[in-house]
Symmetry: C2
């Protein structure tokens, strides 16, 4: 809600939210639509959506002049698009799930809602109908990404496989960004023998903002699915803060690395597979990828939900592992420090009884003895864990933990659920965890992949 | 241990580990010391430490010729240095704690040991005696950084304050790298009214390797403590993979971001305070820092150890919070997703009973009702959390959680222990958590601080 001053001004000028207005301030003129005050910010500033799409905040002061120019945009209604089908173009299916890319601001209440249909999502980006023939648009559920779990991943994998096997050249999934990389990893493991492009696309800014990134991400995602020769699950999102190009990140090597930037998604321990420009140019950045083919894909969605991701840090209470064992968990991924350390209570001069209370080794041993698969990863995110450099690393190894190579903790977590969904044999599960199933383990890391 | 072939070769030539040898292979000659096979690698390759300090691996083959040149280095002994004191130079104290920078390889057994005395650490870097007058060298304990906890931080803070108040211009602390950034945050909060430089210095490679980074880090740390006008706790480590310069990272804005690279430490949501070259040049990179002064510092080390850092992710079991509450924890930092989300089980079409099982909101509410301070941070690491963008964020806020601005999860964890060590009043603790105490909260983030 605006300040009392602005509310009075609006009343006296008979202005309503959504009206087209002209504002004069400090000798400058601004024309656009009067927006509601929906985000954090100065309640005493008018928000005007300019014709270039950007919002501007104009601090209220007595000298400011405002004039109503017309009724303006119809607020509260959701634009929708009847998508024209162009059979000459590559056939791509769209699956909408939820998230910022599918939100719509109700200017009457200021609330942000998730839109209901894929048609409403593509309405933001009419260019798409000249890029692909989007013959099927589905909405299995509309869920913000923080509320996704393995049931949603399973349903998505089934749908993607069905669309591809029915003839789609690729599938684009719109999704919230918070856990987009968990879903991309899950689909990478669940879509066995995938040889067609699957793009996960989201937005960091909502469609009511001038800085909405969904348009370019949808365009690049369409080129990726309709034209690239990459037969993998990729996250297709802004490469920089500008609208210049997107990256296609391998689904098992990508992570959201910023709360709000449009270029928040980054490949970790991997060079992005491709750069995609909104004019359709696709440049391969990493030759290590699966080539496009017309083979059938299998949705292999078995998943053990009793897996956990646990952080180990100075002062952390190791008995947390007992809790998971007691609750019947079958697998635990530990986010350790550095090369894969946990506190051991054994590492030096003046380690005493107090310090030994923090040791994770007895609890790891107990978990392993109870048939739990324990996988070590690193909270540094970049780099590779291995047990043979320092003595304390060997302690985890000797306790029965395995070291997850260069896998991200989140990816190791998803993979563990996938693996334990397929075997109850602990030794087999350990073996599978250390095999590269979907691009999640590289034997060598390209040094150029750090912080890019 | 070397392969059978190499062991036979050594026997026939009467060679011992540590001998000086000359090797002829493929028309090339190599001279150096025969090293043990201590790391992962090809057991059938001879490792020679060349005179330039680098180790080289030479694959064994029949044509290879090896010749003993002399007895070579005395193995198993630890070099030590009687440090010459130069009173004209700035007076700096050294506190050694443990970690790779203080390790020594025993070539007889191949084991890596922590050295015992600071003299043995500075012996790696004789240049130091021409930079600072290191009049006091202490070793309060020798503990690998994965085994550090708040007791060690408290002891360190006391010692650093004592040295500074006794007249040292700065203090350099050598430390393992795994949790170096936890210790730097703890010292930043505990050293009240600090106006002198405190450098935390470590190494990613051990002193027996040609790529040992400790030498340059110690040199840069000496310049930082002896000459810079920065009165803060900083992590001083390699800025790049080359030996060109170090960064001085603010102690509350830094994180280990790679398991093994020498430039693993990076500032997050902050530009590094300074660049330091090994020739002594110091370039300020960020004008927002506390200037050097001669004021007394207070070691304010009260700390509540019953605090936890918990990760929330798709499918995570929210009852983990009940466990911490039940165990008497006073504070919990949650690593949520994106802007500070947790699963809510409320966010859309087709959220059912199954999904609601994953909701963290009831457990957060219960923890808050039990007097636990709950602080939200983001697993993206970069960026800022806040509760006013999406409805699901408001749910955490309404349940009584607070949003930790642009603080790193690890730093929020240390800060919560510090704050709850000083007040049992929940409202006061919440206020303190949202105040900037030691550079851990920036009101604005420099966009150039992403992935640098």
């Amino acid at each position: 809600m605006y300040s009392q001053e602005i509310q009075s001004l609006m009343k006296s000028k008979k202005l309503k939210i959504g009206d087209r207005v002209k504002v004069l301030k400090d000798g400058k003129e601004f024309q656009g639509f009067l927006m509601p005050r929906i985000e954090i910010g100065d309640l005493n500033s008018l928000v005007i959506k300019l014709d270039n799409g950007y919002n501007i905040g104009l601090k209220y002061e007595k000298r400011l002049k405002i004039q109503k120019m017309g009724q303006g945009i119809k607020l509260g209604s959701i634009p929708s698009k009847k998508f024209s089908r162009k059979p000459g173009l590559p056939s791509v299916s769209l699956i909408a799930t939820g998230g910022t890319i599918g939100t719509h601001v109700d200017y009457k209440t200021g609330g942000v809602f998730m839109v209901r249909t894929p048609e409403e999502i593509v309405a933001t980006t009419p260019e798409l109908e000249n890029i692909v023939n989007m013959k099927t648009m589905l909405r299995p559920f509309t869920v913000a990404s923080e509320d996704m779990n393995h049931k949603h991943w399973q349903e998505l994998a089934e749908l993607v496989a069905k669309e591809l096997n029915k003839g789609a050249r690729g599938v684009m999934v719109t999704h919230g960004t918070d856990t987009l990389h968990f879903t991309s990893a899950a689909l990478s493991f669940m879509l066995k023998n995938l040889t067609k492009p699957v793009a996960l696309v989201g937005a960091q800014r909502s469609p009511d903002r001038g800085s909405f990134d969904g348009v370019m991400n949808l365009i690049c995602g369409s080129y990726f699915t309709g034209y690239s020769n990459i037969g993998e699950v990729c996250v297709v999102m802004h490469g920089t803060t500008n609208d210049d190009f997107c990256f296609a990140h391998r689904g098992t090597k990508v992570r959201k690395m910023h709360t709000s930037r449009r270029d928040a998604f980054r490949s970790i321990n991997e060079i992005p597979l491709a750069k995609i420009w909104p004019n359709g140019k696709i440049e391969i950045g990493n030759e290590n990828y699966r080539r496009f083919d017309e083979k059938k894909v299998v949705a292999d969605t078995k998943f053990e939900p009793k897996v956990a991701l646990v952080k180990s840090y100075p002062g952390s209470d190791p008995e947390i592992l007992d809790w998971y064992v007691h609750k019947g968990f079958k697998g635990i991924v530990i986010e350790g420090s550095g090369l894969g350390h946990v506190p051991t209570g054994e590492s030096g001069v003046k380690i005493g009884e107090f310090d030994q209370k923090f040791s994770w080794i007895p609890q790891i041993k107990k978990a392993v003895e109870n048939g739990v698969v324990v996988v070590m990863t690193s909270q540094t995110l970049y780099g590779r864990v291995h047990p043979f450099v320092y003595r304390n690393l060997r302690l985890v190894y000797e306790a029965g933990g395995i070291y997850g190579e260069d896998m991200l903790p989140e990816v190791a977590y998803i993979k563990l659920g996938h693996v334990l969904g397929h075997t109850k044999d602990v030794e087999k599960a350990k073996q599978m965890m250390l095999m590269n199933l979907a691009g999640e383990i590289n034997k060598e890391t390209d040094p150029r992949s750090f912080l890019v």
